[in-house]
Symmetry: C2
Subunit: 339 residues, 2 copies
């Protein structure tokens, strides 16, 4: 017999105020049992922790919002006239850095919790004080995603329950090794919790009961964040401009020959000019952003070099020097902080 | 009192074979009730429907896989030496076009169902034949996602249950209009179902009971697909090369002045050359891919033009003609099929 989950909201919680003890409130309104996963919307965590910003003197609401989003963001991931996707200081990629103005007093802006793992741990610690209760806690928020419409609830902070259910290295029923299979169960738990509530209904805490899991004291929402080097969507629409101007190299190691071949083939197809690469190597110590153009190259060679430069940056290379036979010598990106 | 969900696997299903009637098998192994949502892994749907490819004579397994992935894909979304993300002919964006070799006889490759909505409807129709049963059916697969590690189960095909729970135009508890909030509940249902199984355990069908929903005869997995024009992540790493060479324009309308300003500012910062745009307009009728370079432009102007061209393509513009004062006249993209 397989596992059977129950998913239900904790009813009757009051409006959460700064300083509230969420664990105490949850325990007072729900019969939290051993092995329950308690899923808490980050909005109430932020409110309880006072993660609320207000407009400064003279700021319009729009100005205050732009300032707070900028403070929470470390880089722009995608840019369009109708939306800006950023990476937050925590490493989450989402619209508007998760800054939210709904269900809060007029003018105030709720930011994501400062440290969602710590928030989850605090709630868990509070619940663990009750005898016989070994629980997981997940702090969640509502994020959009590329390619698919609608938002889903995802896990920002995790305590006590694993973020991932790894089947890497496992085998299928015929004994063949499985491809990389690692279920993001903390995100699936967050989504399951969302099914029993709506934003307007005011049910910020949901319990998932019946999950088969082994308590994981080292669990973290960071387990769900993909490292930049293996992120194929580090930049979205408009992100190339930011990368060319301001972003340090995603890779500064040697260029993969397959990448170089791909970029060269594209330049040749588009420009009708062959770009024979003399060498590509990590850029030497040279401060500032600049492009080196051979004086005797012509416009066609320049055009090809410009496209090649953009393609290499699109492929994730930053501080590379490209020496070619026909085209100008170019390099892309700004210096690594360390060189 | 809020809704209470139960999530449980349908135990005891046999290994699914081509021609099997999934609705009949599900009904024989589970007490499906009114308002249940039946979540079915696409793998068994594909098997029942015979969506299985085999290597052709002389093909190695790797060659067969590459061929089948290419047949299922309409474009490359992101390209890296270690992975290829494509858009399938259905419109799903995923690794390897969803082609899978686990839990199938050696050498065979399971493709995604031909029409997942139709598959979901067929299963639903089969279950509806039983009196008093009004159900939703979701056909799912396991997809990775940008920025976050791990895979989640997502909805490919939907029947009877809404794919999205729209709160657009709704109000929060203080009466303020909510920002765009549209929960992708079919994906959250798919994820919830994944919590009671593992790939190796062979439980392809899960029932979610207790969801509050109104039967939606027009529901479709396509409701979850984001249109290309508003997709900020139409291309990932390495996608610019494909776009420059082969991809028709994502936009062929007028260039947004904010985009143009952004591209110009980036060119100026990187190349140290001002590119004053004379005009940007939809490309005139001109067959083939070509770049027009003024004979009297120099290498620096060419470089700036090459970068500008790449930036406009990165912003999603394809068939645009850029006439500048200093730099070569360039255009990017190939002709629209219609011109």
């Amino acid at each position: 017999m397989s596992a059977r989950l129950e998913v239900f909201a904790v009813d009757g919680l009051p409006e959460i105020m700064p300083g509230d003890d969420l664990a105490e409130l949850i325990a007072a309104h729900a019969d939290v049992r051993d092995r329950d996963v308690v899923v808490v919307a980050s909005k109430v965590v932020s409110k309880a922790e006072g993660a609320i910003e207000r407009p400064r003197d003279g700021e319009t609401p729009a100005q205050a919002r732009a300032r707070v989003v900028a403070e929470q963001a470390v880089r722009v991931v995608a840019h369009a006239p109708w939306a800006t996707i950023v990476e937050t200081r925590h490493g989450f990629v989402c619209a508007n850095a998760g800054v939210d103005a709904s269900n809060v007093p007029d003018g105030a802006l709720v930011t994501l919790p400062d440290d969602p793992d710590a928030s989850a741990r605090r709630i868990r610690d509070g619940l663990l004080r009750r005898p016989g209760v070994g629980v997981g806690v997940i702090v969640t928020d509502t994020f959009g995603r590329p390619w698919r419409t609608g938002q889903t609830e995802v896990a920002l902070g995790v305590a006590g329950v694993p973020a991932l259910r790894s089947e890497i290295g496992g085998h299928d029923r015929a004994g063949r090794p499985l491809d990389v299979t690692e279920a993001a169960i903390a995100d699936e738990l967050a989504g399951a919790a969302d099914l029993v509530r709506t934003k307007a209904a005011g049910v910020p805490v949901v319990i998932v009961r019946g999950l088969a899991f082994v308590a994981d004291e080292a669990a973290s929402g960071r387990d769900l964040l993909r490292a930049g080097e293996i992120d194929l969507f580090r930049r979205g629409r408009g992100g190339l401009a930011s990368a060319l101007v301001a972003e340090p190299a995603a890779f500064s190691g040697p260029v993969d020959p397959r990448d170089l071949w791909r970029a060269q083939a594209a330049v040749e197809a588009v420009c009708g000019a062959t770009v024979r690469i003399r060498q590509v190597r990590p850029r030497a110590r040279r401060p500032g952003t600049e492009l080196i153009v051979d004086a005797d190259a012509d416009a066609t060679a320049g055009l090809a070099a410009g496209v090649l430069l953009a393609l290499l940056v699109d492929l994730g290379y930053g501080a590379v020097l490209v020496e070619t036979l026909e085209a100008p010598t170019v390099w892309a990106g700004r210096p690594d902080p360390g060189v």
